[in-house]
Amino acid sequence: MLTKRQNLLETIKGGNPDRFVKQYEFMHFIMEAPNPGGNFPEPGQTIKNNWGITFRWPEGQLGGFPVHDEEHKVLKDITEWKSYVKVPPIPTADEDWAPAIAHAKTVDRNKEFVTVFVAPGVFEMTHHLMSMEDALMALYEEPEAMHELIDRLTEQELAYAKVLIDRLHPDCIFHHDDWGSQKSSFISPQMFEEFYLPAYKKIYGFYKANGVELIIHHSDSYAANLVPFMVDMGVDIWQGVMTTNNTPELIKNYGGKISFMGDIDSGVVDFPAWTPEIVGKEVERACKTCGKLYFIPCLTQGGNWSSFPGVYDTVNEVIDKMTKEMF
């Protein structure tokens, strides 16, 4: 039987996996790695992070959101971004990294990938700072200032990447940046190519050049129109691919260049009235239509959990069942 690591590599390299990869099983997250942005709220909390961005997570709901009324918006005028945006320092002290280093040492790298969760990405940072409307209109109205801001955010990511690599030598980066809604990318491919592709080529290129074997990009959205750019920037696996992308078609067109992880829409199976039957039907459909290679059946949510207890584990159980049927 292949290890989780070997089985993943066989799957994404078009070899001979002996089973379906079960969601996030091959990633061993080192969540103790410090994040320069600081904390994210717990349910029911409102917090201000190290960039000065206020996040609220309403009690009983599924996530935290940046607050963008006039009082809380950090970046009020993109042309003056240098005076509004205070870039937080990268944590470099030994004590900041000690828990993460200790954890990483316990991982058998022959079996699993030491993985760091990096979020938010460059696109999300622009709208967390200034609101989605302002960030998207600025691409038309103040493109030079947006290029400057994106360059600065990219420098920050690269500075963090350097420390991360020095300290942990991660095998895998799981990088969040949502680039679309469920039906469309937020911006056109042309605009993405101009503003965000260069940033990501630098960031993912740096990780790859410094020993990181796997780049996994999370965007639980439609982004089929951006897949050629994902390939170009060095993404190995797009996690979060929703059914609206026609995943089987993407696998047919791009398998071998990039792999796809998802096709089980969290909104469809992970909700208050979820049932094992709904999960079973969706996982079976995903496995049968997407097949054994270049595909990892997974909830589209960006992490190894579900919003409602039992859903994540039930997905794994059905994947095991599909392995018995299909391998």
Binding site: G60, Q61, F65, D69, M132, E141, K183, F186, G267, F271
Partner: protein, 210 residues
């Protein structure tokens, strides 16, 4: 190309900075303010269709809405105190517990561009606040509720029920958001549903025209 056609084209391509001058030139040429406004409404309808079809993206839609808004600013004084909104007032908000903003704001812009006055209540809006806004504002013909989380569908249902049982009349309720379907809209008693911002404007007019 006539000035009015130029206004139409520039709204579609989101040239917000050029619109005030072009609208003024169209007026100087003797065009009626109402006809210029209609040209811009028609432009936004095309923008909505293109967005629904995936031909344009959020920034293009935002820029077109901004361009129209700049044009309306020039025309407003000419309506002598009368509203430029021909379909009445739309109260819009994201339901309680949900902080998603952008989708609701896009719908708001498109509905405004179709000829409604907008009262935007923001995000995390309680059912009581929706009802209060219908009471407090003049000529409310439409209430639009947005929700993007499976967990806030309960709040959506409560909001629609509160509006329908409030005793207030003269308005329709439209709902939308990622987990919302036409079947769900019917099941909770909403009058309409739209899958995206472009079709929301079309549906809004259809509901209000009756």
């Amino acid at each position: 190309m006539s000035k009015i056609e130029e206004v139409k084209a520039m709204v579609q391509s989101g040239k917000a900075k050029l619109i005030p001058g072009l609208v003024q030139e169209a007026l100087d040429e003797g065009n009626e303010a109402q006809n210029i406004l209609q040209a811009m409404v028609d432009s936004m309808s095309i923008v909505g269709d293109k967005f629904s079809a995936g031909e344009i993206f959020v920034p293009e839609m935002l820029m077109a809405a901004k361009a129209m808004s700049k044009g309306v600013d020039i025309l407003k004084p000419l309506f002598a105190g009368q509203s430029t909104a021909s379909y009445g007032t739309c109260v819009i908000g994201t339901v309680a517990g949900d902080l998603h903003d952008i989708g609701k704001n896009l719908v708001s812009m498109m509905i405004e561009s179709a000829g409604f006055e907008i009262v935007n209540l923001g995000v995390d809006v309680s059912a009581a606040k929706f009802v209060e806004a219908v009471k407090e504002n003049r000529n409310v013909t439409l209430v639009a509720c947005s929700g993007l989380l499976t967990t806030t569908m309960t709040a959506m249902k409560e909001t629609v029920q509160a509006l329908k049982s409030s005793g207030l009349t003269g308005f329709k309720v439209i709902i939308g958001g990622a987990p919302v379907t036409a079947e769900f809209a019917v099941s909770i008693g909403a009058d309409g549903f739209a899958p995206d911002a472009g079709s929301a404007a079309v549906k809004a007019v259809e509901l209000v025209k009756g």
